[in-house]
Amino acid sequence: MNEIKEIRLHGRGGLGTVKAAESLVYAAVMDGIYANSIPFFGFERQGAPVTAYLRISQDPIRPKNRVYKPHAVVVMDPTLMKAVDVFEGIRENGIFVINTALDPKQLNIDPKVKTIVTVDANSIAMEILNNAITNTVMLGALIKGTGWVSLDRVMDKAGELWGEKNRQAVMRGFQDAKVTNL
C-alpha cells in the first residue's frame, strides 16, 4: 500500500457513520500507519444523509479535504442508493461495500467497480444488537473487502465504544460478507 487509500462512507444520521470512520483511523494508527477522517453533514438530525471521508497511508497525510476519487465506497443503508450518487468519482477497479440482502447481480453497479462486498447488515444488526444500527457490521465487511486495517484493532475499538455485542458485530460482518470480483 504505497499510495494514499481514499474511502467514502455513506450513512444516515444515527447510524454511526462518523464514528465508524474514526474507528478505522484508530485501527490504522494502532497498526503503525497513518489515517484521517473528516465527516460532512448538514444540520445534524437523525435520518439525514451523512458522508464521512477517510484516508489511509503509510506516510503522514497532509490534505484536510473531502474525498472526490474514492478507492472504496461503503453504503450503510441501501435506500441511500436512491438518494445519493454513491458511485460519484469512484476509481477504476473500485471496491463497493454495501448493506444488502440482494445478490450482487441484482444491484445496479457502476462499471468502474471491480469488487463488490455484500452483507445483510440489517439482519445481522437486528440479530446481535436488536436494532438496525449497521456501522459495526459494515466495518467488518469493509475490512474483508480491503484488508487495509486489521480486524482485531477495529473489533477492539468497537468493543470500547459500544460494548461486546458490537465487537461481535464487526466479526460477523467480516465472516458473513460476500466478496465478488467482477
Binding site: Y26, N36, S37, I38, I61, K64, N65
Partner: protein, 389 residues
C-alpha cells in the same frame, strides 16, 4: 515519552487547554465549537481537570466571566465560533485593552447571512484589529501544541495580551487523526503559574481599574498596546524554539516556509488549506515549476519582516484567502501581504484568490490551478475565485 491518541481537533483543543490547568473556564456551545465545551465539562466531571467550569447562558457572559476571573488573577479559557464571537464583541475588545492574557479558541465558522454553520475564518479575521493576538493552525497536533504555547505567549511580561488560537470548523474541528499529548509535568514546568502585577483585583493591593480616562492618557495606553503586539513577534518565535527543545515539534514561529529556498514563485496560505497546497507545490515541482509556499501562522501581530524576507526573491506570488474584505474586492490576507511588501520597495505581480467560503473545500485541483496561474503571472490580476467546475 509522549503518549498519543486518535482525536478530532476539538478534543485536541480541549486537552491542550486542560494541560495548561486554567483556573476558570466559561463557555457557551455553538457549532462547530460545541464538543470543546462538552469535553471540558466531561474532564471536570471526571475529576481530571480542576478548573471552575461554568456553562453560561451566552457568549457575552462567557467573555465577561473570564474577564472578571482574569482580573482576579486567574488563568482562563474559553472558546467560540462565528455568531458567538459576534455576540461577545463588547467584552472581547475590552479584554485586550485591559491587557488580560485570556486564551480563547476560535473554531472558525463562516458569518451569516445566508445561514451557515460550516467553516471559514471570516469570524476571527473580522475582529483582527481588536488588540488580540491571533494564530491560525494547520492540523490537530498544531491545535494541541498551540493551546499550550498560547498561555506562554499571552502571559509573557512583555506581551500581556489575550490570544486566539484559530482553527477551521469541520476540516479540523471534526477531523480525526493521530495526536501526541505533551506530558503534564513538562507542560507545568514550561508554563509556570500566572502571576499578574500589571492589573489585579486584590484588596491587599488596591488598584484603580478602568476608570474614565481622557484621550491623552488613552493614547498612551494604545501606544503601549501596539508596542506589546510588536514584542509578541519575538516572543512567539522564542516560544516556538523553547517548545521544540522540550517537546520536539517546531512550527516555524511566525510563518512556515515550504520549498521556498530556490522558489521563483510563491503561494501564500493560512489554516487547514495548507496541507492540500503543500501537495500541490510538490506536484508542480515534479512538473518543473519553481514554486514554494508560505504559511501565514500569525495574523496579529502581522509578521511584516518575515513576509518581506520570505518573498524577497520571488518573481510573483498569489494569496489564497478563505475570507473576503468587503470594499477591496479581495481577501484580507492579500491586502496585508501587499502592505508589508510596500515597505520593502519590491513590487512584483501578485494574484488574489478567494475560495473555500462557507465550508466549501479548497481542493488539491484548485491549489494546482492557483499555482499554474501564479507561475504564469506577468502582471497583477483581478481576484480569481476558486470554485467547483
Amino acid at each position: 515519552m509522549q503518549s498519543f491518541d486518535v482525536m478530532n481537533g476539538n478534543r485536541a483543543a480541549a486537552i491542550g487547554a486542560s494541560l495548561a490547568k486554567p483556573d476558570v473556564i466559561a463557555a457557551y456551545p455553538i457549532t462547530p465549537q460545541t464538543p470543546v465545551v462538552e469535553y471540558l465539562t466531561q474532564f471536570v466531571a471526571d475529576g481530571v481537570l480542576e478548573s471552575a467550569m461554568s456553562e453560561v447562558e451566552s457568549e457575552l457572559t462567557a467573555m465577561s466571566m473570564v474577564t472578571g476571573a482574569s482580573l482576579a488573577g486567574a488563568r482562563t479559557f474559553t472558546a467560540t465560533s462565528s455568531q458567538g464571537l459576534a455576540l461577545m464583541y463588547e467584552p472581547y475588545f475590552r479584554a485586550s485593552t485591559l491587557r488580560l492574557p485570556i486564551v480563547m479558541a476560535i473554531v472558525n465558522r463562516e458569518m451569516i447571512s445566508p445561514q451557515t454553520v460550516w467553516g471559514g475564518p471570516q469570524d476571527s479575521i473580522s475582529v483582527r484589529d481588536s488588540g488580540w493576538l491571533q494564530i491560525y493552525v494547520e492540523d490537530n497536533q498544531e491545535i494541541m501544541d498551540m493551546m499550550i504555547q498560547a498561555y506562554k505567549i499571552a502571559e509573557n511580561e512583555g506581551v500581556l495580551l489575550p490570544i486566539n488560537i484559530c482553527y477551521d470548523g469541520f476540516y479540523l474541528s471534526h477531523m480525526t487523526e493521530k495526536v501526541f499529548i505533551p506530558e503534564q509535568e513538562k507542560v507545568d514546568a514550561f508554563l509556570g503559574r500566572y502571576q499578574p502585577n500589571h492589573i489585579i483585583l486584590d484588596p491587599s493591593r488596591p488598584m484603580a481599574v478602568d476608570p474614565l480616562t481622557n484621550g491623552e492618557l488613552l493614547m498612551n495606553y494604545r501606544y503601549l498596546h501596539l508596542e506589546a503586539q510588536q514584542n509578541a513577534l519575538q516572543v512567539i518565535e522564542e516560544t516556538d524554539k523553547e517548545f521544540e527543545s522540550l517537546f520536539g515539534r517546531s512550527y516555524g514561529g511566525l510563518i512556515e516556509s515550504y520549498r521556498m529556498e530556490d522558489a521563483e514563485y510563491a503561494i501564500i496560505t493560512m489554516g487547514s488549506m495548507t496541507g492540500a497546497a503543500k501537495e500541490a507545490v510538490d506536484f508542480a515541482r515534479q512538473n518543473g515549476k519553481s514554486i514554494g509556499l508560505v504559511k501565514l501562522r500569525v495574523l496579529r501581530p502581522f509578521p511584516k519582516s518575515k513576509i518581506i524576507e520570505a518573498l524577497s526573491k520571488v518573481k510573483a506570488f498569489g494569496v489564497v484567502d478563505r475570507n473576503v474584505s468587503f470594499g477591496w474586492n479581495t481577501g484580507v490576507i492579500y491586502q496585508e501581504i501587499k502592505s508589508a511588501l510596500y515597505e520593502s520597495g519590491q513590487f512584483m505581480p501578485s494574484i488574489p484568490f478567494i475560495g473555500g467560503l462557507g465550508g466549501e473545500d479548497l481542493t488539491l485541483d484548485m491549489m494546482i490551478e492557483a499555482i499554474e496561474t501564479i507561475c504564469h503571472a506577468s502582471e497583477s490580476k483581478e481576484t480569481i475565485w476558486l470554485t467547483r467546475e
